[in-house]
């Protein structure tokens, strides 16, 4: 019999039925997740779109479906563009990101290179060094709040180091409070960089490193020409993750300073929190939220396209 004849004889239904069964099961399996995603995206999006075009606030006495009675068109969006406090908050957020992420990256990379080969006690040191990122951020906020008290350990250590009494009121000074917040962030998230970069570092083939050494390359040259290029993807991933989380920074910072003194450490999340819970101008908050959503979506799509073009899996 020819192959064609054999194939004609073979019953086609079982295979098709199986594929069908698979597709149906797949649908059922993904349904809960799809529903949850829908739940959290559809209504919130529509609702916010709606009230962002109004001047609604829960204080107005109206239920939110009646927000249209306080219609104000795109006024909120115009206000967003001109909201000085908003832009300052964004600026501060950018500052925190610009300082913390590179520092965390460099420190994490340095630590990772120290952990690249095996040495006694490695496991123990590793477990200790990754602890900070597992501390509840709110608790970390409180820890650093205590540390940076004017009579607290930080000043105590500085006093012994500098040989003279230091009684700086960290959290009462705008610039020092910002510095304290950055220190807290760096303390907590350098281990994350360390963790990820170390995983990438060990992926570099040892043979190639040996070959490079035999060809006369110095440790720095090996790092520059072999290790870093091979770690490019991982570095990008680590930086992306950290940048995104840093943009959202809230817990630790809020407990440490509450955004203060004044607005000295008010980042974007803190600002939105405050006008949501204190000023209760929810129509306006919705506008801000949508602008952020829009910008981030565009950035996300652009990044995905760029990675797809480079031939890398998302």
């Amino acid at each position: 019999m020819t192959t064609a004849e054999i194939r004609k004889d073979m019953p086609t239904r079982p295979a098709a039925r199986e594929a069908d069964e698979g597709a149906r099961l797949g649908l059922r399996l993904t349904l809960p997740a799809q529903l949850l995603v829908l739940f959290i995206s559809v209504f919130p999006l529509l609702m916010q779109l709606y009230i962002s075009l109004t001047d609604w606030s829960p204080l107005s006495g109206l239920g939110w479906p009646h927000a249209h009675e306080m219609w104000n068109g795109f006024a909120n969006y115009v206000d967003v563009a001109g909201d000085g406090r908003l832009w300052s908050a964004l600026g501060r957020t950018a500052l925190v990101m610009a300082v913390c992420v590179p520092v965390e990256f460099l420190l994490g990379l340095a630590l990772a290179t120290l952990f690249a080969d095996s040495f006694p006690g490695k496991r123990v040191f590793y477990s200790i060094l990754i602890m900070p990122m597992m501390v509840v951020p709110a608790v970390a906020g409180y820890m650093f709040y205590m540390l940076f008290q004017s009579g607290g350990p930080v000043n105590d250590i500085l006093s012994s180091l500098l040989g003279m009494p230091v009684t700086v009121a960290w959290l009462s000074d705008p610039m020092l409070a910002m510095l304290a917040v950055m220190v807290a962030d760096i303390w907590q998230w350098t281990p994350l960089m360390f963790l990820i970069l170390l995983a990438g570092l060990v992926g570099v083939p040892e043979d190639q490193m040996k070959a490079a050494t035999l060809l006369g390359a110095s440790p720095w040259q090996k790092f520059r020409t072999i290790v870093l290029p091979r770690m490019k993807t991982i570095i990008i991933i680590a930086l992306a993750i950290r940048v995104i989380e840093c943009f959202k920074i809230f817990d630790t910072l809020f407990i440490m300073t509450g955004g203060g003194p004044g607005v000295a450490t008010e980042t974007i999340s803190v600002y939105i929190y405050k006008i949501t819970t204190q000023d209760l101008i929810w129509g306006y908050v919705a506008a801000i939220a949508l602008v952020i959503l829009l910008v981030l979506s565009v950035a996300c799509v652009w990044a995905m396209k760029r990675m797809a073009r480079k031939g890398q899996p998302a």
Binding site: E18, E21, G22, G26, L29, T30, P32, A33, L36, V37, F39, I40, F43, M47, L111, L114, F119, Y126, S127, I128, I130, M133, M134, V135, V136, P137, V139, A140, Y142, M143, M146, L147, S150, D156, P165, W187, L195, I196, A199, I234, I237, A238, K248, F250, D251, I255, I268, S269, I272, Y273, T276, W282, V285, A286, A289, I292, L293, S297, C300, A314
Partner: protein, 286 residues
């Protein structure tokens, strides 16, 4: 690779310094948790790293006993917040893992739900504050405000991306031969999933669950907005502790902080092998 003694010395020096910096804040809080009131606000020469008179008073205090006449005993102890954190984090983990694992299997084996990877990453991309108002409205409408189960639901949604991505990479890594063998034997696909795949995945499921639990337990902002009085979680409760007599209750808060911080740290060290996979959404494995 052998390194020169100078390098080894440098390495140990650097690592010890890093460990010291890592441990100082934590140890300070541990120390505070065991310090009596008199030592809370010590400054200058009185400032000690270890309590001069260690005491469990702070722990007793947060559970309702006031050991000193300087502060009034709490009427709302830490017991319920601890319970709230535990319940909401647990149920939230269950929700995220149930939905995430099923969807991950559906995508891995059947290619269903192709939109989920991107959608779930975007979920983590946006600042929570940007969606909290509608969430508050919805939760209020559904009578889920200030309840631990309401919290659990939002937790489940917010950590769903991690559950999904983690389990997806685990499923992708698992060879299909075993499942296919069962299929050839006549098992239905559903049974294969329940009776064969899942039992084999016990270890990854456990690790992923612990990872998600740590995330849920560590939340602050969402609980801050969705709970007001009855079911506040530990971080929210902690922030609310204060006394007009002694200002901030440093010792008590430190004790509470310790209780809150220990579980995730211990769990995290237990699952450290999988941390990279979880944190990079499966892009990297350790």
């Amino acid at each position: 690779m052998r390194r020169s003694p100078a390098f080894e010395a440098f390495r140990y020096g650097a690592i010890l310094l890093a460990c010291a910096i890592t441990l100082v804040p934590i140890l300070w809080m541990v120390s505070m948790a065991f310090k009596p009131i008199a030592e809370w606000q010590a400054t200058g020469a009185d400032l000690t790293w270890f309590p001069k008179e260690p005491t469990l008073d702070n722990f007793r205090y947060i559970f309702g006993e006031s050991g000193s006449n300087l502060i009034v005993a709490l009427d709302r102890t830490a017991a319920k917040p601890i319970l709230s954190s535990l319940l909401s984090a647990s149920l939230g983990t269950l929700i995220a893992m149930a939905a995430g694992t099923s969807a991950a299997y559906g995508l891995s084996r059947f290619g269903a739900g192709g939109n989920l990877p991107l959608a779930l990453i975007q979920l983590r991309l946006f600042p929570p504050m940007a969606v909290m108002i509608p969430v508050m409205m919805m939760w209020s409408f559904l009578n889920l405000m200030d309840t631990w189960w309401g919290l659990a639901l939002i937790y489940g949604i917010v950590t769903l991306p991690f559950a999904f991505w983690l389990m997806k990479t685990f499923f992708d890594d698992m060879p299909r031969e075993i499942e296919e063998a069962a299929l050839v034997e006549g098992c239905s696909r559903g049974r294969v999933f329940w009776r064969i795949t899942l039992p084999m995945m016990r270890a990854p499921l456990a690790s992923a669950s612990l990872f998600v639990f740590i995330l849920n337990w560590s939340d602050y902002l969402i609980a801050l907005l969705l709970t007001t009085r009855e079911w506040v979680t530990i971080p929210v409760y902690m922030a609310s502790l204060s006394s007009s007599m002694t200002g901030q209750l440093y010792g008590a808060k430190a004790a509470l902080g310790l209780i809150a911080a220990v579980p995730p740290v211990v769990l995290g060290i237990m699952i450290q092998r999988h941390l990279v996979r979880g944190l990079t959404f499966g892009a990297l494995k350790q």
